[in-house]
C-alpha cells in the first residue's frame, strides 16, 4: 500500500490508511509528516492521471495536426513565477514555495471544472479521458485542502490573499471549429500535465526538506 503505487495506476493508492482527525475534533492535529505523505500521494496520482489523459488525447485527436508546435508558452499559469530548475527550487524559502503551490492549485480549479463539462459534451467523448478528468478535478480539490492544512501548520497565522491565475480558455473550448477546439483541449491538457508535475516535484522537495531534513 502506498509504496508501489507508481505504476500509473488509476486508483488512488491507500490514502484511507493514513490517520485522520475524527469529525468535530477541534484540537486534533495530524502530524506534518502524515500531511505531507498524503499530499505527495495525491500529487503523484494527479500527475499520473494527467499524463495518461494527455497521451490518450494526443493519440486519438492530435496526430498530424502539429499542435505541439503551437502549444508554446500558452499556459495560463506561466505568469506565476515558478522555479525552473533544482537550484532555483532549493533557494526558495519553503513558505514561499508552499504559497506558490497553493496558487497553482487554485488556478486550476476553474479550468478543471470546465474541462469536465466540455469533455462530456464532446462527440464520442472517450470514457477514459472523461473519467480521468473527473478524477483529477476531485483530487485536485482534496490536495488543495491538504495544502491549506499544511500551510496552517508550517506557517500559521499568515493568510495571504488568494492569488491565482485566471484562466480564460473557456471560449476556445467551446469553439465550433473542430481544429481550434481540439487545440484548445490539447493545450489545456498539455499545461495540466506540466503543472501537475511541477506541484508534485515541489511537494517532494518540501517533504524531504521539512520532514526528513533534506535526507530522504
Amino acid at each position: 500500500c502506498g509504496g508501489q503505487g507508481w505504476g500509473g495506476e488509476r486508483r488512488l493508492p491507500c490514502v484511507a490508511s493514513l490517520p485522520i482527525c475524527p469529525t468535530g475534533a477541534v484540537n486534533c492535529q495530524v502530524s506534518l509528516r502524515d500531511l505531507f505523505d498524503r499530499a505527495v500521494i495525491l500529487s503523484h496520482y494527479i500527475h499520473n492521471l494527467s499524463s495518461e489523459m494527455f497521451n490518450e488525447f494526443d493519440k486519438r485527436y492530435a496526430q498530424g495536426r502539429g499542435f505541439i508546435t503551437k502549444a508554446i508558452n500558452s499556459c495560463h499559469t506561466s505568469s506565476l513565477s515558478t522555479p525552473e530548475d533544482k537550484e532555483q527550487a532549493q533557494q526558495i524559502h519553503h513558505e514561499d514555495l508552499l504559497n506558490l503551490i497553493l496558487r497553482v492549485l487554485r488556478s486550476w480549479n476553474d479550468p478543471l471544472y470546465h474541462l469536465v463539462t466540455e469533455v462530456r459534451g464532446m462527440q464520442e467523448a472517450p470514457d477514459s479521458i472523461l473519467s480521468r478528468a473527473i478524477e483529477i478535478e476531485e483530487q485536485n480539490r482534496r490536495l488543495l485542502e491538504g495544502m491549506e492544512k499544511i500551510v496552517g501548520q508550517v506557517h500559521p497565522g499568515v493568510r495571504e490573499n488568494e492569488v491565482y491565475s485566471v484562466w480564460s480558455g473557456l471560449p476556445s473550448l467551446q469553439m465550433a471549429d473542430e481544429d481550434t477546439r481540439l487545440f484548445a483541449f490539447y493545450n489545456l491538457l498539455h499545461c495540466l500535465r506540466r503543472d501537475s508535475h511541477k506541484i508534485d516535484n515541489y511537494l517532494k522537495l518540501l517533504k524531504c526538506r521539512i520532514v526528513y531534513d533534506s535526507n530522504c
Binding site: 508558452n73 530548475d85 533544482k86 527550487a89 506540466r194
Partner: protein, 716 residues
Amino acid sequence: MTPGGRIFASMCAWMLLSQAIQPCYIFLHSSPPVLSFTLSKEQGSVANTQNKVVHVPGQTRLTSQKLPGAFSFSECLIHFLWEEKGAKMKESVVSTVVFILLLFLNTSLLNGQSPPGKPEIFKCRSPEKETFTCWWKPGEDGGLPTNYTLTYRKEGETTTHECPDYITNGPNSCHFNKKHTSIWTMYIITINATNQMGSSSSDPRYVDVTYIVEPDPPVNLTLELKQPEDKKPYLWMKWYPPTLVDVRSGWLTLQYEIRLKPKKATEWETHFAGQQTQFKILSLYPGQKYLVQVRCKPDHGFWSEWSPESSIQIPNDVTMKDTIVWIFVAVLSAVICLIMVAAVALKGHSMVTCILPPVPGPKIKGFDTHLLEKGKSEELLSALGCQDFPPTSDCEDLLVEFLEVDDSEDQQLMPAHSKEHPGRDTKPAPLDPDSDSGRGSCDSPSLLSKKCEEARVSPSTFHTPEGIEKPENPPAKVTRTRDPQSTRLEGKIPYFPADGSKSSTWPLPQPPSQHSPRSSYHSIAEVCKLAMGTGGASATPLDKTDTHALRSPKTTEPGGEEEAAERREVESFCSKTDQGTAWLLPQEKSPFISVKPLDYVEIHKVNRDGALSLLPKQKENSNQAEKPCAPETSKEYAKVSRVMDDNILVLVRDPQAQSLAAFEEPDKEAPPSLPQNPTGEDLAAFASAPSGCGLQLGNTTEYRKRTLLENARECG
C-alpha cells in the same frame, strides 16, 4: 489519349528522386480521376505495383514508392489506370517533362556531389533531470565534408542558441549542462547540416526535459549470504542509487527492481524492490552460482539499464560429514544385499522351504490315489479301512457310565481335590448314560492335563453364594466355559470334578481312571452345608462337643429319633470332618456355607432300621493312605457290589474292603438328610476313615449315592 480524358503530369522533386529517399510527387490533373499508376521503364513492363493515390481536392497527387536503382531515368513510363464506367483503360503517357528533368538529374549523379542529407535527432535524454543530451543521426553527406550544428530555441524566448557542448557525449551529440537546462520548459532543437553544395536542416524536435529522464543504473551492488542460526540461509543484497541522481533532496525519487538467476538458467527472476536499496532472497538452490542485477526508475521517468552482473556462490547444504555418512550407509546396504543374494543363491531352496513351507496335500488315511485312478471303488473303500463310525477304540472308557472304585485313584483324587475348589466349570455327563452325542473323540493327554491345570488355577466359587453349577450337556463340555452363574441345576447336587475344569466326559489323567465322568467331589464342608441346609437347620458349624453326641448313635437308637439323631450325627459329623472328606450331599440346591473342618468318622454299622452307626476316627492325615487296620468286624460294608438303577450304590461287606469311592450323578431328588431314606433303604454318609477302615456296613444295602467319595482308605 482516352476519350474524354486528359492527363497533365508534372514532375516535382525529381531531384530528390535520385536520392531514393524522398517520395516523388506527381501532380496530375485528370478526368476521370486516376485510380493508380505504375512507373515502369519501358512500355509494357510493370516495374512497380500500384501506388497510392491521395485525393486532394482539385488535384490528384500521386506518391510513388522508391524506384529501384536500375532505373536510368532515361525514360519513364507512367501508366495511368483509371476506370471509366466499368471499363478499365490504360493509358501510358510518356512525359516529356520528366525526360528533361531526368536528364538534369543524371548529370548530377555522374558528378557524385550533393548537398548534405537531412539529419535527424533520434534521442534526447536526461540522467538526473538537471542536464540533458541530444544525439542526432546525420543524413547523407553528399560526398562532401559536412558540418553539423545544433540550434535551439527555448519556450518563452525568442533568441536562438547553439549547442553549448558538442563533445562531452561523443560525436553527433549535444550536451546541455545545468546552466543551460531548464525544467518544465520546451526546447525546440534543430540540426543543420551544411556542406559545400548546400545545407539541410532537420525537423525541429520539441523537447521537455521533464519527460526525458532516464537515470544510470544503480551502483555498488553487493551480495552477501547470511546464515542465521536455526534458519535457512538467505541472500542479502545492497546497492546505491546512481551517483548523479539527487535523491536526498527529493528532486528525484527512485524505485528499484532486481533480477537474479542461477548461472546456468535461462530465465531471470525479477523482483520489485520499491524505494529501498536492499533486498532479501530466501529461496535459493544450494550449490548454485547466482547472478544478480538491479535497475532503477525515477518517478515519471524511464527505467535505467541493468547494472553489471554480480555473482555469488551458494554453498552446498550437505556437509562433508553427511556425505561420508551416506556413503557408509550405502556401502553397508550394498554389502548386506550381496550377502543376502549369495545366501539365496547357495541355499535358495532350503530357505524357500523354511520361509514358505510346502503346503501339505490332502491325505486321507488309507486313501490310495492309485486305486482311485484305477477306478475301483470297492478296493478304494476297503483300502480306506472302513473305520467304524463313530470311532470307538480309545474312547470307550469315556463313554461308559459306570462307577468304579479304585484305591489309587482316590488317593490321587484327594490331592487334586484338596488343592482346588470345584471349578465353575462343572460339566458332568448327561444323565442318560447312553447319550453320548456330541462327545468328542479321545482327548489327548496333553489337553486333559491342560484342563486339569486350568481347573486348579481357578479355584473359586466354592463358596459362591450363587446357584450350584449344573453340568452342561456334553457338547458344551468341550468348550469348558466356566460359568459360575449357570443355573441349570434343577435340584441337582453340586458337581465338582476332581480336577476342576475338566470336562466330566474326560477321565482324570492321573489315575487310570475308570470313573464315570459324572462323578463329583465335594468336600465335607460342602456336604455338611447341604446336609444342614436341607433340614433347614442353621449352617453353623458344630463344635466338637458334639462328638459325644455322635457317639451316641453307636448304640441303638430309637427309630423315632432316627431322623433327628441322624441329623445330629450328620451335624456333628460335619463339624468334625476335615475339609476334604467326601460326603454324600443332599440333593438340593443350597448355597455352600463355610463350615469348619470336621473330623472323620467311621461308619460302624448300619442298624436294622437303616441308621448309620458312626465311629469317630482319629484325625490323621487324610491324604495318606494308611495301611488298613484290621477290620474289626466283619460287618463293615466296605465294598460296592453294584450300582443299581437309580444310582444307588450297593455296598457289601468286605473284610478287606477298601474305601469307597462313590461316584454318582447328582440325583434329581433332594432328600433332606442323609439318614432319611424314603425308599427304605439305608443311607449312609460315607466318610473316609483316616485310620483306613472302610465302611462298615452290614448287609448289602443300597445307598443312595449322592456325593463323591473323595478319600478312600484302605482297610484291612
